[in-house]
Symmetry: C2
Subunit: 234 residues, 2 copies
């Protein structure tokens, strides 16, 4: 029914005012806040209190703070950075395991593939084919690092195709938190690369005939194979 009564903390009020200004567009990304010594007068507070407010805003990912004569607080574009950081905390704390995240990722990528298939434009399929051709070259030359980068680009493009930023944010959060494990535990070879390449080809084929379910099923297996390999090599 009721909300917790407002605390009497001055810095919170400062945080809210600046945050609101950022969210409603009064302060645009890239714009710079006044210097601390000027801001403290604007809010009629002390520099220490103002700095606590700036610290909170920085932690929320709303501003960057630069040093030096031309430094100061710069309004950032809102993105997933704080979410990723919190997710990393959950992982490090042991509340969630890599296996849990892998399971989640399989389902998410499957859902994304379905949505992507529904929204697939000719241009999207062309882009994927272009990536596929790049991947083929790297496969022939056994350049696994470049090969994996293409694989990642494919996943990202499928994220774009969903036309839904929530999926894109979640995908990025998961990827950034799981990437170090891939890098450590995933050794590539000709056989595995060929499997991936085949998946890629099948997905494009399915997209061309608007077969969302098949595309989804393939990418889920694709991600599952990655995750399994990774866990086995741990």
């Amino acid at each position: 029914m009721f909300k917790k009564a407002k605390q009497t903390r001055v810095f919170q009020d400062v945080v809210e005012q600046i945050q609101d200004a950022i969210l409603n567009g009064t302060l645009e990304p890239g714009s710079k806040l006044p210097a601390e010594r000027a801001l403290k007068d604007v809010f009629n507070t002390s520099r220490g209190t103002l700095r606590e407010a700036l610290r909170v805003l920085e932690q929320k990912g709303l501003i960057d703070i630069k040093l030096g004569v031309a430094g100061g607080a710069i309004v950032k574009r809102i993105d997933t950075e704080p979410i990723m950081e919190s997710l990393a905390l959950l992982i490090r704390s042991g509340e969630v395991s890599i296996e849990h995240i892998a399971e989640f990722r399989i389902k998410i990528e499957g859902s994304m593939m379905e949505l992507a298939a529904e929204h697939a434009a000719k241009k999207d399929i062309q882009e994927l084919e272009s990536l596929f051709n790049e991947a083929k070259v790297f496969y022939k030359n056994s350049e696994w690092e470049s090969f994996l980068k293409i694989d990642e680009k494919m996943h990202t493009h499928i994220g774009m195709m969903t036309r839904n930023p929530v999926f894109q944010f979640v995908q990025k959060s998961i990827h950034d938190n799981i990437h170090q494990y891939y890098a450590q535990h995933l050794s590539m070879n000709k056989k595995r690369a060929l499997e991936n390449l085949t998946d890629f080809e099948k997905i494009i084929a399915a997209l061309k005939i608007n077969d969302a379910k098949t595309a989804s099923s393939i990418i889920m297996d694709h991600v599952k194979r990655f995750s399994d390999k990774m866990q086995k090599n741990r």
Copy 2:
């Protein structure tokens, strides 16, 4: 290849030390940090700098700070609070819309239902049946508020059944951010409630015969209906 070189910010070092102590279990949830005036000596810093560190830890959701003589910084159990807050920022900033979240929720709940079905134990089905019977009573008496609470409990229990905290966290994040819209825009009536009740019954039936796909499909329609109604009433 390389990481950004460490900043020379003292408070960051303090944040990292305390955060590490919390994450590796040296500081357990519920335990209290020393008072500011004592901590500043431990870290050999000033109170202002120490407070900036505490502000960051508070924002990260790692500690609570209480006022008064028995007050101080208390180590919290890590949860989704900071994630939900960041997600709320994304929504408020207009980076994602309610429709985007609704689309995401439909897919997530579908995936959760599949997982839940795979892990369904007898006890789980009994619990759902018990909730179903409660819902029937509220339906008969047209107690819509209580009815919706049972509906929410059903979703939460399905989250539990996934045995995967990532899904549970995401579900909670989505729900907490979308709930106010439900409350504002979702008017219940006998017809809609009966639809929900029927969904509920079908899901239990599907679970009993281990039909994950059907259960998933039903709950996706169920969530979709909610979301559509909500958008129509806006």
